[in-house]
Symmetry: C2
Subunit: 295 residues, 2 copies
């Protein structure tokens, strides 16, 4: 039997992403020799052991990372800085640390100061997820056919980057290396703004007069129904994303609002050509996404 | 063999909805004795005959409705008034006229003046669809498990309403009768605003700098991907919806914009509690929709 890709792996945070990764390790024993888990919730730890997702599970993250060759932070990004301070001194020289956060510039800024020179930090973001949360929500095929973006700081050991890339590829992902700021601007558009809008519109609906709201739920059409699914995503995770990708999100909200105002005006003044021209133009982007096999 | 529900049916407009209905008639011969089709496009008429969706198909709507017991208008709502003027004089006494438009108050207002007293007008709206258009996009199970809302004007013959309701039920739909203005306010929230927002955000993305736009398409995540699907819907149909449901749409855009501005402000000032509170509240609506089996 060949040696596993990583002899010892520690996963911190066993939610949707962390537990899906644990299931990937479970499904393919050549990825990790031993998997240990840490989660701040006792209930989650108990569930992880019940599901057989890790050899050990406890609330002490520093203990979990001791001796690990690979440490994966899969927690809301607001928790990354404190965790880095806690586990930083316990990472062994040569260990690889990665994360799965949806914002990369702030994660690099917050975590790097806590890491010793001999530790390899390879920030990552698997662009995959569902609206469900917790250790029971994960599944091994979550990353199949989806992108994982790595944003290593300048000077990171290329071997460490390649080992993390190999892990993601063997979980089914396609890997791209990107500058953290570029990642954050792209995700502000493709993910953060759509989630904010979905949360907003579902919130607007919850404030409606009661008789209108019950009809809205009952006759929920495509469109609103999709938005409610998006707006059922984990609240703390999304709070942290917006707080940590503030500048890119505010910039894209501003552009969006200008464009919406222009459409609002076209509706008010009955400018059918303006509406039809935009509605025709947007079809091309959909074709691009279908061609890129991300539909 | 028992008599069909309608001996002769004319479908005007053979797009996604019209051709799906034609396929329902094809699948269940007890619904209609003879189905004739009219579409302003010669190519669509030829395709309809190729697919065997109607016994006759041509561009002359007035000829198609002659002698029909049921006439179904399945055209963009902006075309309803002119069509009503064209076919109105040719409808036989006792004929039932229905439509499938997504706005009901304007349709009733535009069509009713063209109809003789002996014609039964039962406006309808099947809340079903996909982002695809044209006679090849239809399928018989499109209406399965979906609501169809009927908005008959005051004084409409209850038997006519019941026969249209029976048709929709036998196509797999659940039927609800509603006042047109209430329908339009509900749909403004569940369907029209979500589509407008999806069109807007995809439009915002098409205006990005080229290198950012190609990354947006390539790394399109859940959220944006869903929006592009919605924003690939038929441009003329949606133009007409916004022009005809103007007041209800403008009112809900205004509420939405206020709510988005409040969230934008919370992001700018780092008010995490405000964000988390809303993101938690919106989960409840999703549960309501799942409970209503519309998810």
């Amino acid at each position: 039997m060949t040696a596993p890709l990583f002899p010892r792996v520690a996963i911190i945070g066993l939610g949707l992403i962390g537990s899906s990764l644990a299931r990937c390790f479970q499904a393919d024993p050549t990825l990790a020799g031993t998997v240990v888990a840490a989660d701040r919730s006792d209930a989650v730890c108990a569930r992880v052991l019940d599901l057989g997702l890790a050899a050990e599970a406890g609330t002490d993250a520093a203990a979990a990372v001791t001796g690990a060759d690979l440490v994966i932070l899969a927690v809301p990004i607001g928790a990354c800085a404190a965790l880095a301070a806690e586990i930083g001194p316990r990472l062994k020289p040569g260990a690889i640390l990665t994360d799965v956060g949806s914002v990369k510039e702030s994660v690099v800024r917050d975590m790097l100061p806590h890491l010793a020179a001999g530790v390899h930090f390879v920030p990552g973001h698997p662009i995959a997820g569902t609206e469900h949360s917790g250790p029971d929500a994960g599944f091994a095929s979550l990353f199949q056919g989806r992108w994982c973006i790595l944003t290593p700081p300048a000077g990171t050991d290329p071997d460490a980057v390649e080992r993390v890339a190999t892990l993601w590829r063997r979980c089914g992902s396609m890997v791209e290396v990107m500058e953290p700021g570029h990642h954050d601007r792209v995700l502000a558009i493709t993910s953060h703004l759509p989630h904010l809008i979905a949360y907003t519109i579902v919130g607007t609906a919850t404030d409606l007069e009661e008789h209108l709201q019950s009809a809205v739920i009952r006759f929920s059409a495509s469109g609103f129904r999709d938005f409610t699914r998006i707006a059922a995503s984990d609240p703390v995770m999304w709070r942290d994303i917006f707080l940590n990708n503030r500048e890119a999100v505010l910039e894209i909200i501003q552009r969006f609002t200008e464009d919406l105002t222009a459409l609002q005006r076209a509706i008010r003044w009955g400018e059918g050509e303006t509406l039809e021209a935009l509605f025709t133009r947007t079809r091309a982007i959909r074709r691009g996404i279908i061609d890129a096999k991300q539909a």
